[in-house]
């Protein structure tokens, strides 16, 4: 398999707090890609999630700022209340456009803009959640030749979101939560 990936985008909703705390610590300290995450959240303007993840992760976890350059080996979380977009010059933009699928941040918005910026060099991951945000985004990533992964609905706290992504028939791999990091690592190591 190819190994020229430049970034990972992840979308997660209901059940996300636990899922992220289980999975993200499994990425090693020297992980070479940026991981950009939209987690739907109700409360805007608090950094509780970032702080809590930072305590358990080997990689640095931070909120993504507007105009910030995307750097490898960092986990970026979309701020509450804003859409997170990836620019072609590999910086972040934020926007307060209408919610998409009732959500802001929206997974679709991140995935679509990231797929335009990274093209085939993008890995998209859909985790647990109770709506179908991210399904359009997964299709876009696939159409640009990227790699797509969904959490195995059986292993998901809420199965609706990964199931909806899988139903688009554009998901390459369906994996249990704990296996996603090691799977991505093998993909990156393959030459």
């Amino acid at each position: 398999m190819r190994n020229d990936f430049q970034a990972i985008v992840m979308g997660v909703s209901a059940g996300g707090f636990n899922a992220l705390h289980t999975m993200l610590p499994l990425f090693p300290r020297d992980f070479p890609l940026p991981i950009i995450i939209v987690q739907h959240r109700i409360s805007e303007n608090n950094t509780f999630l970032e702080e809590s993840l930072n305590r358990v992760c080997q990689l640095t976890v931070k909120e993504s700022n507007e105009k910030e350059t995307i750097n490898p080996g960092i986990i970026y979380i979309a701020p509450g209340g804003y859409h997170l977009l990836v620019e072609k010059d590999l910086t972040f933009s934020l926007s307060v456009d209408e919610p998409v699928c009732y959500s802001r941040p929206s997974i679709d918005v991140l995935f679509e803009t990231a797929s335009l910026a990274f093209g085939p060099r993008l890995i998209g991951v859909i985790l647990t959640g109770a709506n179908d945000d991210g399904s359009e985004g997964i299709k876009k990533i696939k159409s640009k030749g990227g790699l797509t992964i969904a959490q195995d609905p059986e292993s998901a706290e809420v199965e609706i979101m990964p199931r909806s992504a899988i139903e688009t028939k554009t998901v390459d791999f369906i994996l249990p939560l704990e296996e996603i990091p090691s799977f991505i690592l093998t993909v990156l190591e393959d030459s």
Binding site: E44, N45, N65, E66, K67, P79, Y82, L85, V86, E87, K88, S93, L94, S95, V96, D97, E98, V109, E112, T113, L116, A117
Partner: protein, 282 residues
């Protein structure tokens, strides 16, 4: 450059040449999303097919611009910002006999009515002159009316209370057939005007400028242009308030400003310039 990017570039250039609206330095990812939204509403197939429509059909252009400008707003957006404004900025403004305030990118006006309410409660309204500007005439018109869907009132009331409101919010509007009509007295000292931050010049001697959730749509270069416009419009020790995820830090004027509230993005102009040299305002 891929084809879509070329099409968008040419289209924005056409818009600029024909109507003077300059979106060429807006953050691309968002513009490209909005252009595609306009495309899907138009029923046309390619972005470039919108170009003749935009040039020859004013109505089409109007709806295109509506798609491109993002007007989402609410009363007392980020309530804690308004608390901070009350606590950290108002006491300073209290010391002036006259106060000039500019709310730039005011959209449909919720921001400036929130500000007006706060000024009233702090006893500053009567000495204040507030300029409320936007480049979109449609939203400006609703701003001038001050009539909002009653559905929003619950959220507005909640925000108002969180923002440290001192009264019952109901005092500021009356309900009428599904609308909330805001009190006329709130707009007595507000001037609504069309103003384009990209192409128009600034206003003089402002004590306070609010420009929230506007510059996130601009690229760094354009942000710098607008920051300079604000810098030249602010009086010494004047305040600049940005949206809660916007920052002055990356801009060319950063060094001349002091954060009053880092978290709520309130900055104060700390230095004035004379003959090109920097000098402390003491």
């Amino acid at each position: 450059m891929d084809n879509e990017d070329i099409e968008i570039k040419v289209l924005l250039e056409a818009v600029r040449l024909k109507y003077g609206y300059d979106f060429t330095q807006y953050a691309s990812a968002s513009v490209s999303r909005r252009v595609k939204k306009a495309l899907s509403e138009s029923g046309l197939e390619k972005i470039s097919e919108m170009i003749p429509r935009i040039i020859y059909d004013r109505k089409f252009f109007n709806s295109f611009v509506r798609n491109l400008s993002i007007n989402v707003t609410e009363m007392f957006r980020d309530p804690l910002f308004y608390c901070e404004l009350r606590e950290r900025v108002i006491p300073y403004l209290q010391t002036f006999p006259h106060i000039k305030i500019w709310s730039a990118g005011v959209s449909s006006g919720e921001e400036v009515y929130s500000l007006a309410i706060l000024l009233k409660e702090e006893g500053l309204y009567d000495r204040s002159m507030v300029y409320a500007t936007d480049f979109n005439d449609i939203v400006l018109e609703s701003a001038e009316k001050g009539i909002y869907p009653a559905d929003n009132i619950q959220k507005s009331t909640k925000n108002y209370q969180k923002a440290g409101g001192r009264e019952s919010f109901g005092k500021y509007y009356h309900a009428d057939y599904g609308s909330a009509i805001f009190d006329r007295s709130l707009k007595k000292n507000i001037v609504f005007a069309n103003h384009n931050l990209v192409t128009d010049s600034g206003f003089g001697e402002m004590n306070l400028i609010l420009c929230r959730n506007v510059m996130i749509y601009f690229n760094l270069e354009l942000q710098n242009h607008v920051f300079q416009l604000f810098d030249s419009s602010l009086c010494n020790n004047g305040f600049l308030c940005l949206g809660s995820k916007e920052t002055i830090d990356l801009s060319v004027i950063a060094d001349a400003y002091m954060p009053v509230s880092k978290k709520h993005r309130i900055y104060q102009k700390k230095i004035h310039r004379q003959g090109g040299t920097l000098k402390n305002a003491e």
